[in-house]
C-alpha cells in the first residue's frame, strides 16, 4: 500500500533533555526520519579554560545530573594522566564502587521510570505504583541502593563531593561500607523480582547490524580506563580517542554525530556486553541467557536487557569490592602531586557508554584546552539510521500510525539518551 505518513514529535518525553523526531513517508517512500536534538548548548569546554585542575572535576560533573560521577572521574583520569599522578589503590577501588552506584541508579531510572510505562501502556510510572506495586517497589529499592552506594563512596548521590585529583578527599567509614554490604545482600531479591518482570515482557525484535564500541582491559568488566575496542576489530590506545569518534556536525542538531568503521556505531550497556561478555559475573551471564541475550546482539531493544544484566553484575562486583576494601587500610587515599604541563585522555564507561574527557594543562596546572565526547553523541548516528530502518519496516508490515509512533519512541528510549549531557 502506498501510504503517506508523518510524525512530528516535539520534545520527546521520558528521556533526559530536549529532542524531536520528524518522519515523512510519501507514497510508501521514506523521505526522511530525523533524530533532531534541540537542547541548549552550555559550552563546558570553554568554561574550564583557565580553571585550576583541582576545581575542574567539580565543574565537569555538572555536565550531567544523572552521570555526574562519570564526568568527574573522566576529568580526574585525564588530569592525573596529564600530570603523571598515580592515585592510591584504595582510592581506585572506591572510585570503581562509586561508578557501580551511579550505573545502578541510572539503569534503574531508565528501566523503571523511562521505559516500563511503554510496556505497560501508561504515560508514566505513577499509575504503576498501584497496578504493579511489587515491581515498582523492587525498582525503587534498587535505585535507592545505587544512590546509597554513590553517597557512601563520594559524599553525595548527584554531583560527587570527595572525588578529587590525586585520589579522594575523604574515605568512607568502614562501618558505612559494612552497612552498604548488608543493604546489597538484602536487595538481591528485588533484582530477582525485576528480572522476572522483564522476562514477562515481549521485547520488540529489530535488527540493523552495526558496530559496538567500549573500553576493554582484558581482566575485568570495563569501568575506568583501558583500551578502546569495537566489534569490527578496532583496538586503539586511550589517548587515540579522536580517531575512534571522528565527530561531525549536522545542521538540525546541537549534539554532534560520530562514526568509526561504518556510518554509525553504538556505545552503552549492549556495547559493553558485546565486547566484554567473558568478564561478566556468572550470575549476570545466567540472567542474560534467560533472556536469550548473547554477544553480539544487534537488537537495540536488548540494550534494556543488557542494562538489567549489568545490574546483576554490579551487585555481585560491588559486594566483592567492599569485601576487599574492608581488608585494606583506608588511610592512604590521596597522592600528593606537582602541578605540571601535560595532556591526556580519560575514558570511563559511563552508564550510557564510553565517555572521553581530554585535558591539556599548563605548568601551573590550569586547563588550557578541553574536549569532551559524550556517549549519546556516539549513539546519535545509530539512532538516526535506526529510525529510518524501523519506520520503513513498520510501514512495510502495515503497522498503524500509532504503532509506528510508539516503536519510534521506544527505539530511541532503548538507547537511554542523555541529551543535555551530549550538548554540553
Amino acid at each position: 500500500m502506498k501510504r503517506d505518513y508523518t510524525l512530528d514529535i516535539h520534545h520527546l518525553t521520558r528521556v533526559e533533555g530536549h529532542a524531536n523526531i520528524n518522519i515523512t513517508v510519501k507514497d510508501g517512500e521514506l523521505i526522511d526520519a530525523r533524530w533532531a536534538i534541540v537542547e541548549t548548548p552550555r559550552f563546558f569546554e570553554v568554561m574550564v579554560k583557565g580553571m585550576s585542575a583541582e576545581r575542574v572535576p567539580f565543574l565537569t560533573s555538572r555536565i550531567c545530573g544523572i552521570c555526574s560521577i562519570s564526568h568527574s572521574l573522566a576529568s580526574i583520569r585525564a588530569l592525573e594522566r596529564a600530570m603523571k599522578i598515580d592515585p592510591p589503590d584504595a582510592a581506585e577501588k572506591i572510585r570503581c564502587l562509586a561508578m557501580h552506584g551511579e550505573t545502578l541508579q541510572s539503569h534503574t531510572l531508565h528501566l523503571f521510570f523511562l521505559i516500563m510505562p511503554d510496556f505497560a501502556n501508561t504515560p508514566s510510572i505513577l499509575p504503576l505504583i498501584h497496578s504493579y506495586p511489587d515491581v515498582v517497589r523492587a525498582g525503587l529499592q534498587l535505585k535507592e541502593l545505587g544512590n546509597e552506594i554513590s553517597l557512601v563512596t563520594t559524599g553525595r548521590c548527584t554531583h560527587p563531593v570527595s572525588l578529587v585529583v590525586g585520589g579522594l578527599s575523604k574515605a568512607p567509614e568502614k562501618q558505612l561500607l559494612l552497612k552498604l554490604r548488608t543493604m546489597i545482600r538484602e536487595r538481591k531479591p528485588a533484582l530477582d523480582t525485576a528480572c522476572a518482570f522483564f522476562r514477562s515482557l515481549t521485547i520488540p525484535l529489530f535488527i540493523r547490524e552495526t558496530e559496538f564500541i567500549s573500553l576493554f582491559n582484558g581482566s575485568s568488566y570495563p569501568s575506568i580506563g583501558g583500551r578502546l575496542i569495537s566489534t569490527d576489530g578496532v583496538d586503539r590506545d586511550e589517548d587515540d580517542y579522536l580517531s575512534m569518534t571522528n565527530e561531525y556536525t549536522r545542521d538540525f542538531s546541537t549534539s554532534k554525530f560520530t562514526k568509526l568503521s561504518r556510518a554509525s556505531s553504538v556505545a552503552g550497556a549492549l556495547a559493553r556486553f558485546n565486547n566484554n561478555y567473558d568478564r561478566l559475573h556468572p550470575k549476570a551471564k545466567e540472567v542474560a541467557a534467560s533472556f536469550g541475550l548473547q554477544p553480539v546482539s544487534h537488537n537495540p531493544f536488548m540494550n534494556n536487557i543488557a542494562q538489567l544484566v549489568e545490574c546483576v553484575h554490579i551487585l555481585e562486583d560491588a559486594e566483592a569490592l567492599i569485601n576487599s576494601l574492608l581488608n585494606m587500610e583506608l588511610r592512604e587515599i590521596k597522592t600528593s602531586y606537582k602541578l605540571q604541563q601535560g595532556s591526556a585522555t580519560g575514558a570511563v564507561e559511563a552508564p550510557r557508554g564510553i565517555l572521553y574527557h581530554h585535558m591539556e594543562t599548563d605548568s601551573e596546572g590550569k586547563v588550557v584546552h578541553a574536549d569532551c565526547v559524550i556517549p549519546t553523541t556516539q549513539n546519535n548516528a545509530n539512532i538516526y539510521y535506526d529510525l529510518q530502518a524501523i519506520t520503513e519496516q513498520a510501514c512495510y508490515a502495515g503497522k498503524s500510525d500509532r504503532e509506528i509512533e510508539k516503536l519510534c519512541e521506544m527505539v530511541v528510549r532503548s538507547y537511554d539518551p542523555c541529551i543535555s549531557c551530549s550538548v554540553h
Binding site: R14, R62, G65, I66, P123, S124, L140, E144, T158, T249
Partner: protein, 254 residues
C-alpha cells in the same frame, strides 16, 4: 485528599528544564523510601523527564536551569503567565549557576570553539529572575531533596516557607568537622546560606557557595580572614565566581 488527619488539595505542579544538567529534577525521583508518599502530595501536570502527560493547567511551576537562548525566554514567559507560583529550582535557576562561567568569554569565541563549522545561537546566561518574576527560590547544586519535600509540604498545608538565614559554617561546626581554613583552604562556608547540611565540607572539600549568600553576611571580616592567613587571591576569585551566586560581591578583593 486526607492523610494523617489532614485534609489537603494535591499541588497541581509542573516541572520544566532550561539550560542545565537536569540534576535538580532528578532529585524529585530520589529519596526512594519516601517517594510514593511524596508523589501522593502532587498532581503532576507536566514533567517531561518522567511522564508523557502534558497539561497546561498547573498552579506551581518548578523551573530548573538558567536562560541562554531566545526560545527559552519565550517558553519561560508562557509558563509565568500560567503559573500562580513560579519556583526557581536549583542554583542555575536562582543565580545562573556554573553556566554563567561562559559569560567571561566573548560569545563569538565561545561558539567558534565548540561549533567551528556551524552557526549556533547562544545568549549571555541569565538567572530566571532576570527574565520573569520569581515567587520562591530553592537553592542548591543540586537541590537537597529533604528541603524540597519540606517546602512542598509547606505549600500543601499552606504554612509559611522558611529557609535558613545562617551560614553553612554553623551546620559544619555542629557536625564537629575540622575547619578547612585550619587545613589552609579557602572555604565559602562562613558566607553561604545553610540548608545543605554542610555536605561538601563534611566530605573535606571547600564550600563553593552554591546556595548563595546567607542573610547577614560579613564580607569584610571574611576577606580579612583570607588576608590574615595569606591565602590565594586567585583561588578566592575562582571559588566566589564558580556558581555566580555572589554576583554582588565579586568585585571584592581579599
Amino acid at each position: 485528599m486526607k492523610k494523617q488527619g489532614f485534609t489537603f488539595e494535591k499541588l497541581k505542579i509542573a516541572s520544566f528544564d532550561f539550560t542545565c544538567c537536569e540534576g535538580c529534577q532528578l532529585q524529585l525521583t530520589n529519596k526512594e523510601s519516601t517517594l510514593t508518599d511524596f508523589f501522593e502530595l502532587l498532581d503532576i501536570r507536566t514533567f517531561r523527564e518522567i511522564s508523557s502527560e502534558k497539561y497546561d493547567d498547573y498552579d506551581i511551576a518548578l523551573i530548573e536551569g538558567s536562560i541562554s537562548r531566545q526560545d527559552e525566554v519565550e517558553r519561560l514567559t508562557t509558563i509565568r503567565s500560567q503559573a500562580k507560583t513560579l519556583i526557581a529550582f536549583g542554583t542555575c535557576a536562582c543565580f545562573g549557576g556554573v553556566n554563567s562561567l561562559k559569560n567571561k568569554f566573548p560569545l563569538k569565541e565561545v561558539v567558534a570553539e565548540v561549533y567551528p563549522d556551524m552557526p549556533v545561537e547562544t545568549l549571555l546566561v541569565r538567572k530566571v529572575s532576570d527574565v520573569v518574576k520569581v515567587d520562591l527560590s530553592i537553592h542548591g547544586c543540586p537541590v537537597n531533596k529533604e528541603e524540597v519535600e519540606r517546602i512542598l509540604v509547606n505549600l500543601v498545608t499552606g504554612s509559611q516557607v522558611s529557609l535558613p538565614k545562617y551560614p553553612v559554617c554553623v551546620e559544619c561546626k555542629e557536625l564537629l568537622n575540622t575547619c578547612l581554613f585550619e587545613l589552609g583552604e579557602i572555604c565559602l562556608g562562613p558566607i553561604t546560606r545553610a540548608g545543605c547540611n554542610a555536605v561538601c565540607t563534611t566530605g573535606k572539600t571547600p564550600c563553593l557557595g552554591c546556595r548563595g549568600p546567607s542573610e547577614e553576611i560579613n564580607m569584610p571580616a571574611f576577606l580579612e580572614l583570607i588576608k590574615e592567613r595569606k591565602l590565594s587571591q586567585n583561588d578566592f576569585q575562582e571559588k566566589i565566581t564558580f556558581y555566580n551566586a555572589f554576583e554582588a560581591f565579586t568585585s571584592y578583593e581579599a
